[in-house]
């Protein structure tokens, strides 16, 4: 009986493997990719846009919010005119699992599925690992919120529409000095995370006072010692540009210990989960971000309506309809992709790549144009603060680099 059961299971496994082998190996992709939204009405011409985002792993939450923007954009505008013909836009997903060792295969998957260009990713290290694969295949990629300078440097095929870490770090350091006249800052980041450590570094460089720098190991959840240390050191501000999972933890803890020191965060903290964690407490949170809700009312209302009717999307957004900046960035990235397709006049990836450098677009997060490295020319960051009574972000200031 047991043996029979084992055989049955094994057989099922082998069959499923064979089946997936078939569908994964087929490069026409009809079985393995999804026509998103109401894409069935646009005729038979299809253009594919790759979505290279983490859906699992420690950046999974951010990746999903970023995808929401693209999905909403795709729902809003499911077709595109290319060279006088209407094409249905199909988003092809590949999960890079926030892991540099999984990113190359995810990137390869997109290449094999014949996409015209790629959007993503949240988290720079996956972008760095996947970049050369795109470059090798002659496929252009548009980074949405990967802010590490290393993403585009040395890779002709990687572009991005967000600002960079040096800019963000500097902006926040300036803000800390202007708003709080801070003399001492406590910097906290995840050990070995290039995003965190890069920002800490730029903050430190731009900050005139003293900095106390600390790093915590991956998967830490006890931050009490770190926050107590910040108090003991007499820091005027705490800067913790950490990923969402850690930031909710830190904010919750700060709320429970009635921390009076303001917490500064980067774009990763701009998440409704952080808001929720801070709700009803006295924690002061300031984040720099790409987009402030209310900046483009049409977009806000539209996406909120969509979230309200699509429960999966709502869950992916963390269960409420506050719009994260990464979502707005994903939305803009989608439209930049459409513009690039239009400008190229073809779905050929080479043509799309050639069209990108000269492209300009005004999106909900501002004007987008690329410099010679492929980075966005941006000089403004929004600084928002959490309104803990209402559980919403309010715009504090708009900061530009000096």
């Amino acid at each position: 009986m047991k043996k029979f059961f084992a055989m049955l299971l094994a057989l099922a496994m082998v069959l499923s493997l064979a089946a997936c082998g078939g569908s994964g190996g087929s490069s026409d992709g009809s079985g393995s990719s999804q026509p998103s939204g109401g894409g069935s009405s646009g005729g038979d011409k299809v253009v594919r846009i790759g979505v290279f985002e983490p859906a699992t792993g420690d950046s999974g939450a951010g990746g999903k919010q970023e995808m929401l923007g693209m999905q909403y954009g795709n729902k809003e505008t499911p077709t595109v005119e290319i060279g006088g013909e209407t094409y249905t836009v199909e988003l092809v997903y590949a999960d890079n699992a926030s892991d540099a060792s999984k990113a190359p295969t995810a990137a390869s998957q997109l290449v094999s599925q014949d996409v015209s260009l790629v959007l993503g990713t949240y988290g720079s290290s996956s972008a760095i690992a996947g970049g050369p694969i795109f470059g090798e295949a002659g496929l252009a990629a548009i980074g949405v919120t990967c802010t590490n300078p290393g993403v585009t440097a040395g890779n002709d095929y990687y572009f991005r529409i967000c600002f960079l870490d040096p800019f963000q770090g500097t902006v926040l350091a300036n803000f800390a000095q202007e708003k709080f006249s801070a003399k001492k800052a406590y910097l906290l980041g995840e050990l070995g995370n290039d995003y965190d450590q890069g920002l800490l570094n730029y903050f430190e460089q731009a900050f005139d006072g003293t900095c106390v720098k600390d790093s915590f190991p991956t998967n830490t959840s006890d931050f009490s010692t770190y926050l107590n240390k910040a108090v003991a050191e007499g820091a005027d501000v705490i800067f913790c540009p950490v990923s969402i999972a850690y930031s909710t933890q830190i904010v919750k803890l700060a709320a429970s210990m009635n921390l009076e020191i303001p917490i500064l965060g980067s774009d990763t903290l701009d998440s409704n989960m952080v808001l929720e964690a801070a709700k009803g407490s006295n924690v002061q949170i300031y984040v720099s971000t790409f987009y402030q809700e209310g900046g483009a009312p049409d977009f806000d209302n539209g996406i909120k309506a969509w979230l309200a009717e699509d429960s999966t999307a709502m869950t992916n957004n963390g269960g409420n309809d506050t719009i994260a900046a990464v979502t707005a960035m994903g939305y803009d990235a989608y439209y930049v992709a459409l513009e690039a397709l239009k400008a190229a006049g073809s779905t050929d990836k080479g043509a799309v790549k050639a069209a990108l450098p000269s492209l300009t677009y005004t999106g909900v997060s501002g004007d987008i144009a690329f410099d010679e490295v492929g980075d966005a020319i941006r000089d403004t960051a929004y600084i928002k603060t959490a309104d803990n009574a209402a559980g919403a972000w309010t715009l504090e200031t708009v900061q530009t680099a000096k």
Binding site: T56, L191, T225, I244
Partner: protein, 291 residues
């Protein structure tokens, strides 16, 4: 001074939480010689269950329910993943444990979508209290006390009940115990039930303190608790508790120093030093290979 107290407090509370997980590791190891890698994930799942249950049920119902479900989970894991491998080489069983750990983590990722979940406030222990000017949650103070109470109860159970005697016998000599008519499988199940129960209690304490749960939340406390168990001499319950408090405190202290980036590394370095000096941990029994 205040800072020192805060470090001490967080160290003691961490130690208590690690101790509750470490007991599970140490008991299972004592009996099966198995590093139950899935134990940390059981702890995480207990936390997630609490999140989902409190969404629809009152706390008074969901806390006992979480304890029961976690115990059930531990029991099922043992029956499904370890029992069939009783005669297999030890490495296979350990791989099975890693497999269960993968499965639980991936299931959690699938269900939560990888988004951090907020642990509910538990009245009483979630409230803030101020000790010598350091504000902390009640749970910080409750934890070590509760740990000591539970450990005392557990020691009573092991030393003075029939089941406890059977457990000691099985830990001492698996084969002979079996020959003596002890129902090995029942004893092992009891071990897993106790371990999972303590992990569930630990998870309530831990996540009340650190309220956000992600699928990987179990892995770090799990690893630390395991290190604590080895440190104290795996198989020994007092050893696990002492080890857990030492690891918790030293972790807290090193985090508070200027070498915080080496807090993980330091824990392991401490472990390696102990193992080299005393190869079976602080309270471990010496095993001799008969020639």
């Amino acid at each position: 001074m205040q800072y020192a107290i805060s470090i001490l407090l967080s160290g003691v509370s961490l130690g208590g939480q690690y101790a509750l997980i470490a007991i599970g590791y140490t008991m299972v190891y004592g009996i099966l010689r198995l590093i139950n890698f899935a134990h940390g994930d059981v702890f995480m799942v207990a936390g997630l269950m609490m999140v989902y249950l409190t969404a629809s049920l009152p706390l008074a119902v969901s806390i006992p329910l979480v304890l029961i479900l976690t115990v059930l989970l531990g029991f099922v894991i043992e029956r499904a993943a370890y029992k069939p491998l009783r005669e297999a080489p030890r490495m296979s069983v350990m791989i099975s444990a890693i497999g269960v750990s993968y499965l639980l983590q991936n299931l959690a990722t699938y269900i939560t979508g990888g988004l951090p979940q907020m642990y509910p406030e538990i009245p009483g222990i979630s409230a803030t209290v101020s000790i010598a000017g350091v504000s902390t949650k009640w749970v910080t103070i409750v934890t070590p006390v509760l740990v000591l109470v539970l450990v005392a109860a557990l020691t009573q159970l092991i030393n003075h009940t029939k089941v406890g005697m059977a457990m000691r016998a099985v830990a001492k000599d698996f084969e002979t115990a079996q020959l003596m008519g002890i129902k090995i499988n029942a004893v092992i199940s009891v071990t897993f039930i106790i371990g999972s129960f303590l992990a569930a209690v630990g998870s309530v304490l831990y996540f009340t303190n650190y309220q956000s749960i992600v699928p990987l939340s179990g892995s770090l406390p799990g690893l630390r608790a395991f290190v604590a168990a080895v440190f104290g001499g795996i198989g020994s319950i007092p050893g696990a508790v002492v080890g857990a408090f030492i690891i918790g405190l030293s972790e807290s202290i090193i985090k508070g120093s200027n070498w915080s980036i080496f807090s993980d590394a330091f824990t392991f370095a401490l472990l390696i030093i102990i193992l080299v000096v005393k190869p079976t941990g602080l309270f471990g029994e010496k095993v001799t290979d008969k020639v």
